[in-house]
């Protein structure tokens, strides 16, 4: 199976600080990979490098063997990278379904004059988009909330909607930035099921940042540990749990 995401020697320097130095990862299709590390380790910086918010100082990012160098956030989204945010960034004053349909924008082709004259292509594409959006919301049991304003949703549903919105761009790689932040254990369990469902239904690669170890150890097949911008360990959940370097990074070293 080929790699969906491949990072080689990724490095970014802000002033004198190497926020990420020599980051390597390979994520395959249908695989869930986790990125963990203490606060300030550079996890979100890695996401920002992948989505083109920051330009790497050096290193290569490839998506399905395509080099992403020099591409903007928008172009990377078109190429197949979708993400959610640590602090929820929904379109609050739009309805749930409009939040999702907005992600189809790039794949809908009707032009502004066509929209203004309401030509057939407008009706056809709008209808198809609506159906597809309802179908997607249905996968996550949100079809009844379609007409609700996104800002009025309960917290858990907002997090889910962010994931649906990201999936609606038809990505090859989905980046989840702390999806379980602020959730109680029951909600986290539901989220784990949701993430599993995404992998089974959409056949995409998932890379997630998470502090909730039960979630990371429960669903990730491959874990990368970052500390001070450096990869200190990489492997299966079992290997990571027993790795002394990781334990030291999280808990500190014994005095003697």
């Amino acid at each position: 199976m080929s790699n969906v995401l491949k990072c080689e020697h990724l490095r970014v320097v802000f002033g004198g600080l190497a926020a990420v130095s020599d980051f390597n990862i390979e994520v395959e299709e249908n695989q869930i990979a986790g990125l963990i590390g203490p606060n300030g380790a550079g996890k979100t910086t890695v996401f920002n490098l992948l989505t083109g918010v920051y330009t790497p100082t050096s290193g290569v990012v490839t998506l399905c063997d395509k080099d992403l160098a020099g591409m903007s956030t928008i172009q990377r989204s078109h190429a197949g990278i979708a993400r959610t945010f640590q602090n929820i960034r929904l379109f609050k004053d739009m309805s749930v379904i409009d939040n999702v349909i907005n992600s189809f924008n790039y794949r809908m082709k009707y032009t502004i004059p066509e929209a203004m004259l309401r030509l057939p292509r407008y009706w056809k594409e709008e209808k198809a988009a609506r159906e597809r959006a309802l179908e997607l919301l249905g996968v996550f049991n949100m079809q009844d909330l379609a007409e609700v304003n996104a800002g009025n949703l309960p917290y858990g549903a907002q997090r889910r909607l962010e994931i649906v919105r990201a999936l609606a761009t038809n990505p090859k790689l989905l980046l989840l930035d702390e999806p379980a932040a602020g959730m109680n254990p029951a909600e986290t369990t539901a989220l784990m099921e949701t993430i599993g469902k995404i992998r089974d239904n959409f056949h995409i690669a998932i890379l997630l940042i998470e502090h909730d170890m039960s979630l990371v150890m429960g669903i990730c097949e491959q874990i990368t540990v970052l500390n001070f911008g450096e990869v200190i360990a990489q492997g299966t959940p079992e290997q990571i749990q027993n790795n002394p370097v990781v334990i030291e990074a999280y808990l500190g070293k014994d005095r003697d």
């Binding site: 979708a82 609050k92 907005n102 502004i112 929209a115 203004m116």
Partner: protein, 352 residues
């Protein structure tokens, strides 16, 4: 669950079209019976200009979420473009001879030219200005608006050809803005804004307002849509300007001062940013109110300010907030509610 009541698309357009015709008939009857005299007719036409101005600014302000303060500049560009063109045609003499139908093609060309030229100015100003946000965008657009006014004041003659007549003003413009033209143009403007906003393009604009970073992350070309919305807003302001020139018959650069932009902005804010109906109501109220308060002319500005202050205290999000009224949706909701009650009643009877 039973299927929800929904009005079919052609019927929706039919209902709206019927309402538009009804509105026109009511006004025409009021004018012909003399219930509204010529003075009020003038005010109604003015209200039309202000509705187009307010709703066009609402695109950039309410839908796109930016704060441009140079709207009067685009209005000036449209006004002068339309006026200079129509002065070069025989429209003035035709109108004096009472031949109102013969000037229609000239008026249409004038309006289209006004929209195009203001659109070009909107593009030229929008590309650099939209790289900024918030206060910075406000200040740079304010500057551009003033530049346009000062340029108009100073290019009274270009290469010996009389152009804008500078500060002394452009006079003898045919007064082509009749009530009918105003009504049609207002409806067309509102319709264009509506169909633009209810499309993938409109959704993209709204998503940029709500969260630009997230909009980029789902592949929305933010630069393109910001510029498009800004240009669209400028074009409609140009149309309003052209119609304004046709109501007054003369143009002075001093009309398009900074305070004019603020006046339009007040309408948008009062109506509620992001609500087209709000902008329309605010434009009607803020154009009509000063006329109604004319008998208290000494206190007019006090009452006007008081109305605004009270507004900001009790409805800080504007009259309508971001709510947009749709008659068809309201009918659907009422019918669904009645049906729901009937269904509940039937259920109860069955249980009993």
């Amino acid at each position: 669950m039973e299927k929800k009541f929904k009005i079919a698309m052609p019927v929706r357009y039919g209902i709206n079209f019927a309402l538009i015709v009804l509105g026109w008939v009511i006004f025409t009857v009021l004018f012909s019976t003399g219930a509204l005299n010529d003075y009020w007719k003038g005010i109604v036409v003015n209200i039309g200009v202000n509705i187009i101005l307010a709703t066009s600014l609402n695109i950039a302000c309410g839908y796109l979420g930016q704060l441009p303060l140079g709207h009067a500049g685009f209005m000036a560009v449209g006004a002068y473009t339309g006026a200079i063109y129509i002065k070069a045609t025989p429209a003035y003499d035709l109108l004096r001879a009472g031949n109102t139908t013969a000037i229609i093609p000239y008026v249409i060309v004038a309006i289209i030219l006004a929209a195009l030229v203001s659109g070009i100015f909107g593009l030229l100003i929008g590309i650099p200005a939209l790289r900024l946000k918030g206060d910075y965008l406000a200040i740079i657009t304010l500057g551009f608006g003033e530049i346009i006014r000062i340029v108009i004041t100073n290019i009274d003659s270009v290469l010996g050809f009389k152009f804008t007549y500078g500060a002394s003003g452009l006079a003898r413009i045919p007064k082509f803005s009749s009530f009918n033209l105003m009504y049609i143009m207002t409806v067309i403007s509102l319709f264009l804004i509506h169909v633009f906003m209810k499309s993938r393009h409109g959704r993209a604009v709204l998503s940029i307002r709500d969260n630009e970073i997230a909009a980029e992350s789902v592949g929305i070309n933010t630069t393109f849509y910001k510029t498009t919305a800004f240009v669209f807003s400028a074009m409609l302001a140009g149309v309003a300007g052209c119609l304004y020139a046709g109501t007054l018959g003369s143009l002075y650069p001093a009309t398009f001062k900074f305070m004019k932009s603020i006046e339009i902005l007040v309408m948008v804010v009062l109506g509620g940013m992001g609500s087209m109906l709000g902008s329309v109501i605010a434009a009607i109220v803020l154009t009509g109110l000063p006329e109604l308060l004319r008998s208290f002319s000494d206190y007019r500005m006090v009452l006007y300010s008081l109305a605004l202050v009270l507004m900001m205290i009790f409805r800080p999000k504007g009259l309508m907030g971001t709510y947009d009224f749709s008659l068809n949706k309201s009918i659907e909701n009422i019918v669904n509610k009645i049906r729901g009650k009937k269904a509940a009643k039937a259920d109860k009877e069955v249980q009993e």
